[in-house]
């Protein structure tokens, strides 16, 4: 850039600033370190009574001169704003230590704010406007907006870091006051004799495990490794100190904003005094001193002190009113010392930034997720692993993971875990990954189809504490075993998630209260109602359909072509639906069905709510049960009622499970035209019936078939002799169970002929 252009930048900025109604004057200043500077004079509106004094109650003047320095990289970076040297310091949004003081004009990165305006003029104008707003607020000390919350002291630029779970630390705080010591680990980089925050820096972390403060032979509360390069690591402690109560017993609240300016132990004691933590700090420091008595460890060991300040309102971005103020002090246990802190109150102390360690509350607040009950993941394949990580990243607990297979190289095409986990067991690998999120799930590596039916194992697989069990195995045997294993009183909601059609289709089943409808009911209901939808094309397509549904844990995925992106897209949507259903449970069962367009990633999702199935014990069997979709049961009752003078009936369509001993009815076929209806007898005709059953079978992707017949009785009477005879005839003609359902005006009766009737 030519010098002429450079020289004009300051003029340009001044010209733009003067366009602002509150900018009432200014001038271009001389270069400083080769950088251009501009002074602008800002009018500050304030209440009339303060205006009369030309200065606000907080010390802001009605006209404030502010210096703008143009950075060398102008206009790629925004001007820096400097207030007068004696501008009052007791404001939040004022950068600590900066001389002269600098206001924080933007909630975020000022350069980003500036650059969002394509026109430099616009960017400058808006920054000047932010300055005008900032000054007006400062004038009435309104920079902390109680609605928005308390502005924590600015600490983000500190070099020393303390990493711990803030919620855990806050949970220690009670009304009475006190202190606690946690085990910690540290990295200290830089000159061992150097000053923290200046020529050395420390990173301390603690997982919140309490420790007594003592140092004895063999004790490893404090350790220091040899120097590796310029770094040393070791064990240390973190002290959490919270305010004592007021003399009248009320909680101590500190409501004056002060910038962070602690530099020495003396300052730290003064700060502790201000916020009610003086007793705790003294107690900790003297205990620390005592614990080192007779102990020599010449390397500097950074120790952290966290002062907990109670604020009058919650902090911005959290519900807590406790602000954590972390500091780091180097402890040097030298030979022949009088005290650990030889410089007394002049001992340097470095304010530190706090990093939140991974915790469920942190993850929940970052992902905006509610606190939800723990999950069990049955199946840790590509779908299961992704659902699990979505849940873990939202701060949800996972108490059990199960998969019988191991991670193989081909899994790397789509599995959530990376190649470093090959060839461990999928369940173990997932559990290990979840450990990083602070989760400790039980690991199960057995065959779910078998183990779910074993009472001992079922206690692990279906723990009481779980809020939801997610079956992503896409295995029919696991589905049935799960239906079988979950008694009505088991409170967790059961879910099944699966993809089909090369990942272009997906479904999520959520069973109903007391597991009715169950997943088998929901699958039958899905087959009965899905016909004609985009999903049905995918589901019933012989090339892409159900045959390939086994993406969860079987070997099906080996041959299936599907990109990780597509699988992730569908699985992510399932995860959204899942958390939606957990957050706002419906009173019925639910089928969620998604189908992706051809050629674009647009996906349509549909939810079907399925009320509980009506169940009828089947007479003549050893505990078989007829399960009728509410939709179908209502149809039967309506049709029976419409033939009030004669018996009527039809054919029931559904499916059966020999393992669950259930016959599930999800559709009806009308009685053929040659059927006969009379007062005491209904004779089902045959005309066109076979073709109709065939067609229904095809339309359901060959999953539904005729499972028996129904007919009405005009009075509340159970099966007649004729009914039993018909049942026997039906049984003789085919092997699949054939049910006779009798609909009386008030109830259903079901019977089936078995080889050895009761």
């Amino acid at each position: 850039m030519a010098t002429d252009d450079k020289a004009s930048a300051a003029d340009h900025v001044l010209r733009v600033a003067l366009k602002h109604s509150e900018c009432v004057g200014g001038e271009v200043l001389e270069l400083e370190h080769g950088l251009e500077r501009v002074r602008i004079d800002m009018n500050v509106e304030m209440p009339l009574d303060m205006k009369a004094d030309n200065v606000s109650s907080s010390g802001v003047r009605t006209c404030e001169s502010v210096v703008l320095k143009l950075p060398a990289s102008w206009p790629w970076q925004s001007p820096r704003f400097y207030l007068r040297d004696d501008f009052p310091r007791h404001f939040p949004h004022l950068m600590p230590f900066s001389t002269p003081p600098r206001p924080c004009l933007i909630d975020g990165d000022q350069d980003e704010f500036f650059l969002q305006f394509g026109l430099v003029d616009y960017g400058v104008f808006h920054l000047v406007d932010q300055l005008a707003v900032w000054l007006r607020k400062a004038a009435i000390n309104d920079l902390i907006d109680p609605e928005q919350g308390w502005e924590p002291m600015l600490r983000r630029d500190y070099r020393d870091i303390v990493e711990l779970d803030a919620e855990h630390a806050r949970s220690l705080v009670d009304r009475k006051g006190g202190w606690a010591v946690w085990k910690g680990k540290y990295y200290r980089r830089g000159d061992p004799s150097g000053l923290l925050g200046v020529d050395a820096e420390a990173w301390l972390s603690s997982d919140g495990e309490r420790t007594p403060l003592k140092t004895s032979e063999g004790d490893d509360t404090f350790t220091a490794s040899p120097m590796r390069g310029d770094m040393r690591v070791g064990n240390t402690v973190v002290a959490i100190i919270w305010p004592d109560k007021n003399s009248d017993g009320s909680a101590f609240v500190h409501s004056i904003y002060v910038p962070e300016d602690v530099k020495t132990l003396g300052h730290l004691r003064a700060r502790a005094e201000e916020i009610g933590c003086a007793r705790g700090l003294d107690a900790f420091l003297s205990n620390l001193e005592r614990s080192f008595a007779g102990f020599v460890l010449p390397a500097p060991i950074p120790v952290s002190v966290i002062l907990c300040a109670r604020r009058p309102v919650h902090l911005i971005g959290t519900e807590s009113d406790i602000e954590l103020l972390p500091y780091v002090i180097d402890v040097r246990a030298e030979h022949g010392r009088q005290t650990l802190f030889v410089q007394g109150n002049n001992e340097p102390v470095s304010p530190a930034a706090h990093y939140q360690s991974i915790s469920a509350p942190l993850l929940r607040s970052l992902s905006g997720s509610p606190d939800q009950p723990p999950l069990v993941m049955l199946g840790c394949g590509s779908v299961g692993s992704k659902l699990a990580l979505h849940a873990a990243r939202s701060g949800q607990d996972i108490v059990c993971v199960s998969d019988k297979s191991g991670l193989r190289p081909h899994n790397m095409a789509r599995h959530a875990l990376g190649p470093s986990h090959v060839p461990s067991s999928k369940a173990e690998a997932l559990a290990k990954e979840l450990e990083g999120f602070g989760l400790r799930p039980e690991v199960h590596k057995g065959d779910l189809g078998k183990d779910l039916r074993e009472q001992k194992l079922a206690k692990t697989l279906l723990p009481k504490c779980a809020g939801a069990v997610i079956n992503s195995t896409a295995s029919l045997s696991v589905r049935e075993a799960l239906v079988d294993a979950a008694p009505a009183r088991y409170r967790a909601r059961l879910f099944e998630a699966a993809l089909f059609g090369r990942g272009r289709g997906a479904f999520l089943l959520a069973d109903g209260p007391r597991h009715n409808p169950n997943h088998a009911d929901l699958m039958a209901e899905m087959y009965a109602t899905i016909d004609g939808t985009p999903a049905s094309k995918l589901l019933f397509d012989p090339a892409e359909g159900l045959a390939e549904i086994r993406i969860g844990q079987g070997c099906g995925s080996l041959t299936m072509q599907m990109s990780d992106a597509r699988l992730s897209a569908m699985t992510a949507s399932l995860a959204l639906e899942l958390s939606e259903l957990l957050a706002a449970p419906v009173n019925d069962g639910m089928i969620v069905m998604g189908a992706m367009d051809v050629g674009t990633p647009a996906t349509s999702w549909v939810r079907y709510q399925v009320p509980p199935f009506e169940t009828v014990e089947i007479a003549g069997t050893d505990g078989w049960e007829l399960r009728i979709s509410k939709r179908v049961a209502d149809r039967i009752r309506a049709e029976a009622a419409s033939y009030s003078a004669v018996e009527t009936g039809g054919v029931m369509i559904g499916c059966t499970s020999a393992r669950l001993k259930t016959v599930t009815v999800v559709d009806l076929l009308d009685a053929p035209p040659d059927s006969q209806r009379s007062v005491a007898l209904f004779v089902l005709g045959t005309q066109g019936l076979h073709a109709a059953i065939e067609a229904r079978h095809e339309a359901s992707g060959r999953t539904l078939f005729d499972v028996g017949t129904w007919h009405s009785h005009l009075h509340d009477t159970g099966p007649s002799g004729t009914d039993w005879n018909t049942a026997a005839e039906l049984a003789a003609e085919r092997t699949p169970p054939s049910i006779l359902l009798i609909a009386t005006p008030t109830s259903f009766h079901a019977l089936m002929h078995t080889k050895e009737p009761d």
Binding site: K19, H20, P47, H126, D129, I140
Partner: protein, 395 residues
Amino acid sequence: MTASIVFFPVGNGDMTLVTLDNDQKILIDLHVRKAADNDDDDTPDVMSDLRERLNRDSAGRLYVDGFLLSHPDKDHISGLESHFHLGPPEDWAKDDDKILIREMWSSPVVFRRSSKSHTLCPDAKAWAKEARRRVALFRENGTIAGEGDRIQIMGEDEDGKTDDILGIVVKTNETITKLNEIGSSAFEGRLLAPLPQGEDEDTEELLAKNRSSVIIRFSIRGGGILDKCRFLSGGDAEVAIWERLWEDLGDHNAHWLDYDILQAPHHCSWHSLSYDSWSQMGEDAEVCEAARNALGQIRKGAIVVASSKTIDADDSDPPCDRAKREYISIVDGKRDRFICVADVWEGEERALEYEITANGITKTVKSAAKAAAASMGIGATASQARAHGRADGYR
């Protein structure tokens, strides 16, 4: 809701909106000049500004909770018929979309017939008719009517025409505590005028002419804190009234007159401060000390607002430069505490607005989003015809 006072730029006239911290709004006077409704005219479009500041009720009607007419002169009531719904509220029509006046605050002058000495413009007649309709409803039913039919009469009628409707009359020197039947302590108004009839006939004659101006000293709650702002509003009341007020109140109730914001009476007219003629006597004209005292009870940092056109030393009265100087002397000689609404429009293209919060009374500042484009000259290309393609070296 933040309480506020907005002075609309209406030249020599009054139009002031007071918003209380319970979000009730009271409009004091109206002066919508014909040109203000014309898009192509530069006269500030105050009705659009006002409408943006009002709320709609459940029936979709824009409304003010109260409308105080200080006195029925043209520069205080212009635009009533075009912009406000008059007549039974149920006759409000969506297509007209006029503003509903939930409760009128009117001086008893509405009971007087127009005469040679008391002529009324059409808007003033419409106001009187609407007021009489509402009074008749009260007289008929004996109960406070519903929203849109309510009225409070500010002061008793000297001929006894309000004697049978005292339930809706606020007597002079009493306080107004309800707006549209809501007594929320969001404000309190002290009714200082119209002055009740006295015994001294000479004074009476003098007062008769403009006795009808309503003077109210509002005490307004800000951010939930009582009495954050005292606002003295006196229509066109002239020197005799202020002199008399000081005589009546000066000894024991001077604090009824103190203020943070004074709307300079009669658009900064000299005749509110002096009996002498400015045009004839010029600088020899003398200030009436009592009137000045009545208008000079300032609280710390108080300001005087002139709702007038720009004040020019050579111009006729009102507004009067001599009056301006007197007001400046009242506010501790601080020129920046005397604000002319027209100057604010000139400089900022907006109405003059003060917010009343727990911190005090603060002038609001134009928002940058609105200001940026104009300040940066975006669109300036279109503001005048510009020559292009000339080769004469001008840039």
